[in-house]
């Protein structure tokens, strides 16, 4: 893939724009927090402390404590590992399946494409979240089942995009040229068409990762994703819901973490989209 983008100097300036730099800083620190939560968190996220219940933010407890005396700051930081994991795990399989299926139906067309088209129509008729909730309801709540549900629904969007891109690339003669040179379909699809067609899919993947975090925390909030007492932003917001009038920090702090991380992913995604967008 490295050879596929001939970067020109003018394009590299995208990387120096403040929006992209801020996004990158947020993203990198998020990943650092996700990888080494114990290094950054001052307290055990699950340790009860009955002498410090529902304390507002202070020098000792930066984000306050909850109704069991757990340090909210530590819990928000430990949640990074779960929520950043969501961004990748919930999207990567959808990406792989979608790109493969989309390439094949885009290339072969015909009956496979017609069946695929009907499946897509059926799936996109439902709101994304409703369908994911339905699948989780069948499989049962929990992180793994949530990943399965998001993958089951999400691959369709990648496949649809990939199919269209492959069909666009087929209009170029190099696909026909590969065929008259006697290359196998597999070689034409995966070596020639796919690398030329995948750019918009990668850009979509970037924004989808931000959406996956939002979706994962929404499901956590609804009790369908990560389960308490695991620290996860959605779970944390849900736990703070009962005390929203007396201990606002319980829901606000994980909420800010969601917004910040989502922003980071979006800013980096925008930058990469600009970088990969063909010019001239």
């Amino acid at each position: 893939m490295t050879s596929s983008f001939s970067l020109r100097k003018s394009q590299l300036f995208v990387l120096l724009r403040p929006g992209f730099l801020v996004g990158l800083a947020i993203l990198l620190s998020s990943i650092a927090l996700a990888l080494f939560p114990s290094f950054f968190a001052p307290f055990d996220p699950n340790a009860f402390n009955y002498s410090a219940l529902k304390q507002p933010p202070s020098a000792e407890h930066w984000f306050g404590t909850d109704n069991l005396g757990r340090d909210t700051f530590s819990r928000v930081i430990w949640a990074y590992s779960v929520n950043i994991q969501m961004a990748f795990v919930a999207t990567i399989f959808a990406l792989i399946i979608g790109v493969t299926v989309g390439s094949l139906v885009g290339y072969y067309g015909g009956i496979a494409d017609a069946i695929f088209g009907r499946c897509v129509d059926a799936i996109i008729t439902f709101p994304f979240l409703v369908l994911v909730i339905a699948v989780v309801a069948v499989l049962g709540p929990g992180l793994t089942n949530m990943y399965i549900a998001i993958t089951l629904v999400g691959w369709v969007y990648y496949a649809r995009l990939m199919r269209a891109e492959i069909m666009g690339q087929l209009a170029n003669d190099y696909a026909a040229a590969g065929k008259v040179m006697g290359y196998s379909d597999r070689r034409i699809i995966f070596r020639h068409l796919l690398p030329n067609a995948i750019t918009p899919v990668i850009v979509y993947w970037m924004t989808d990762m931000a959406l996956a975090i939002l979706l994962g925390s929404s499901l956590g909030y609804l009790g369908l994703g990560a389960q308490p007492p695991q620290a996860e932003w959605g779970v944390l917001i849900a736990e703070g819901r009962n005390f929203i009038t007396t201990a606002w920090w319980l829901s606000l702090m994980p909420g800010i973490a969601i917004v910040l991380t989502g922003l980071g992913f979006s800013l980096v995604g925008d930058g990469i989209a600009d970088l990969m967008r063909p010019r001239g």
Binding site: D173, A176, A177
Partner: protein
């Protein structure tokens, strides 16, 4: 094997196309892009297929190598070395493609993969069709690029297609096509996208290579000038049908079909500036809605009663024509059976 009786020149016949038809299903209607086309090709010969846009010449070419079968129905025979390519399984066809028969396209911009270096793309063909090892492939790639006239071939192997000009890209495309010493090169308007001086160079290159390697060429073009300069024989297509074939010299000097005649008259030659140019009246018929008789009849000033009702068969020996009222038919009888 081919019957020796059919050999008409010193060179054996290598390709024999019989009753080739290709039709596409468009909105429930049959679109006959190629209608019962028969022609042959001798070893080392350059055959030009000429006609307007939409006359079916490119589809004919693509049907020979099996590129049309995915989109439409192909019937008839394409006899190549004793085998019928139309009936051949895709798997077996792959062994013929690129090895014995190669093809180059109109748009050198889009016929190379923009993401792979030229060296990789030549090497890929060599992997598929030869047993050369890696250094051998590299040597052969350089040799091929030098053969098609690319200076500094060794260093250009690592360049991407966008680093080449249009003409150079077409040369690269030819180098890739020639990688496995094909016996037949199909060229689909190879010079249309290039400017005139480059056109000349590319045509000369194709002709020289054809002579040096004994390779037969089918050149599809809408440019009679190009055809006149390069081809041994011409086949003129109109409305998906072959209307006239024969030696280039004969077809251009004494065209029999009224359409060929009209095409020749539309080429401006030795005329004063600002004189109106001749153009055939009317437009080519839609392939969806071909007339019952001769497809050219509605535009033809010399049509007779039969033209509107019956399709004229292609008749003659060396110089064949499909017309009920060919030119000179009153005074000359040559070639008409």
């Amino acid at each position: 094997m081919l019957e020796n009786a059919h050999i008409t020149s010193a060179h054996p016949r290598i390709l024999d196309v019989k009753n080739l038809s290709t039709s596409f299903d468009v909105a429930g209607k049959q679109l006959k892009a190629v209608d019962n086309v028969s022609f042959h090709l001798n070893q080392g010969e350059v055959l030009g297929i000429v006609g307007e846009s939409g006359s079916g010449k490119s589809i004919t070419l693509r049907s020979i190598i099996g590129l049309s079968r995915r989109y439409g129905e192909v019937t008839g025979e394409v006899n190549w070395q004793g085998e019928n390519l139309v009936a051949m399984l895709e798997r077996d066809l792959r062994k013929v493609r690129g090895k014995d028969i190669a093809m180059i396209f109109q748009e050198p911009m889009s016929s190379l993969n923009p993401l792979l270096t030229v060296g990789l793309q030549i090497g890929e063909n060599l992997v598929e069709h030869t047993s050369l090892d890696k250094p051998g492939r590299r040597r052969r790639s350089i040799e091929l690029l030098e053969m098609v006239g690319i200076p500094d071939a060794e260093n250009r192997l690592n360049d991407y297609p966008h680093q080449f000009s249009g003409g150079m890209r077409q040369r690269v495309m030819i180098a890739i096509a020639l990688a496995s010493n094909p016996k037949l090169l199909l060229a689909d308007e190879p010079t249309t996208a290039l400017d005139v001086t480059i056109q000349k160079q590319i045509l000369k290159l194709i002709l020289d290579l054809s002579k040096d390697l004994g390779m037969a060429v089918i050149l599809v073009t809408h440019d009679l000038g190009v055809a006149a300069q390069t081809c041994d024989r011409l086949a003129v297509m109109y409305g998906g049908k072959l209307v006239e074939t024969g030696a280039t010299r004969e077809v251009l000097r004494a065209p029999k079909h009224r359409y060929t005649m009209g095409l020749l008259q539309s080429v401006p030659e030795n005329i004063e500036p600002r004189t109106p140019l001749f153009s055939l009246p009317g437009t080519p018929p839609s392939l969806m809605n071909l007339p019952l008789g001769c497809a050219f009849a509605p535009r033809c000033a010399h049509s007779v009663a039969d033209c509107a009702e019956k399709k004229p068969p292609l008749i003659g020996e060396q110089h064949q024509v499909a017309c009920f009222n060919p030119t000179n038919s009153g005074e000359a009888t040559k070639g008409v059976a």
